[in-house]
Symmetry: C2
Subunit: 232 residues, 2 copies
DNA sequence: GTCTATAGGCTGATAGAC
DNA sequence: GTCTATCAGCCTATAGAC
């Protein structure tokens, strides 16, 4: 990760449009403009990368969506790859955070239910992020290779201990932990990555609140019952 | 689907290299050369599209991998999109066929087990096909939109009847059929689409026969038990 | 049917006036 | 910091000799 922009509000930024065009005074204002423009570029880039893939995305389209001249985009991010890295960087902890605080002392039924719900709702609220991540992995993870082998790997190892601990206590069946996590990731992210397919199959319209709720219920039920998790 | 090349041996074609360069006689041989070259192009294109995405793939690279001059590729397929359509077309029935013959009279435990195993093995044997399909859907299905709303939709509707029938007979729980299918698709295709991630998390090496076997076992077990399918 | 050479268009990136 | 004008390179696709 070249630049760590994780905590900047890169999305949902409803441009509180003071300081419209030309600089007025310029002192501490500068940093604000910079942050705001970078955030706009990242938000625009997320849309374009999600829809077109890395190679299909053009800096021209990103600039257009960010309502900035193309050269301005290159002023903030020297290369297209730099924009992409910033976008990916923004996405990463979104992925790991939801299951972060869970320990062996938690109740498995509740912990897994919450995790599944959180992941489905992430698919509902941040489908673009999910698609970009999926695209990155499908392409062979050219940017995220290191992350997969270090951070994610460790994260899975930790959570595998928790799952094995629950099994040892007889709170659930001894299911292969990594494969269980794969199943949960895949089936929850499916509602973001394959949303067009789900829409087409279910009713041709945008997925509704009910669809996501049914998804949560179905996945939760199959996983809990399928892993023999004792209800609390 | 512009051209239906479904049944041509587009892959695993170990170029049985008679008739090396220049044409010798040319009569019924012509059709063979044509078929062989088209198959080589499709096979090469599958690799490139899977690795680079639609926009990232170049006809030059496809030609290089097919060991043909670039202009020759354009002779068989006039546009890049035509190559892509041929590749996609080749993939499609691969997706629907495995669950095709299943009816309400079959045993759910056996039918679902076989389906899951077949899908995982498809991920093992044709990961590139799976990735191209995933990429197409993630991008919003520009080519497959019609297919999703017609063929696939009907297929899901039919299979939903079978699943509901089983539930009515008390052979399994009344699970929302489409969402169950989504879960099975997602969790099985995961081993193709997110293979780099699975590799990195599991052991940094290529997935082994055992990995796929464990995947089959884990998914099958969770789905069957999770849906309350009676063992036969 | 094959293949070289090239047209024509779009891309990422920059120079340099404001 | 902003933005117009522009470049060099790569891309798909084709013309035309063999």
């Amino acid at each position: 990760m070249t630049e760590d922009v994780r905590r900047s509000e890169a999305l949902g930024d409803t441009q509180n449009g003071d300081n419209g065009g030309t600089a007025t005074k310029n002192s501490s204002k500068t940093g604000q403009i910079r942050a705001r423009n970078k955030a706009r570029i990242i938000a625009a880039a997320e849309e374009v990368f999600a829809a077109k893939g890395y190679e299909g995305a053009t800096t021209a389209e990103i600039a257009l969506k960010a309502a900035l001249p193309k050269a301005n985009v290159h002023y903030y991010f020297s290369t297209k790859e730099a924009i992409y890295r910033a976008v990916i960087d923004n996405i990463l902890d979104l992925w790991l955070e939801p299951f972060q605080r869970i320990t062996e002392n938690d109740d498995p039924a509740e912990a897994l239910s919450t995790y599944i719900r959180t992941k489905v709702m992430l698919s509902r609220d941040r489908p673009l992020a999910s698609r970009i991540y999926a695209n990155e992995i499908i392409r062979g993870a050219p940017i995220l290779a290191d992350y997969l082998g270090s951070d994610l790997r460790e994260w899975v190892a930790e959570k595998s201990c928790v799952l094995r601990g629950w099994a040892k206590k007889g709170l659930m069946d001894p299911v292969e932990p990594a494969h269980l996590l794969f199943l949960i990731w895949a089936s929850t992210q499916h509602y973001a990555d394959f949303q067009v397919q789900a829409k087409a199959v279910l009713h041709h319209r945008d997925l509704t609140e009910d669809d996501f709720e049914t998804a949560v219920q179905t996945i939760t039920r199959i996983v809990l019952k399928g892993c023999g998790v004792k209800a609390d």
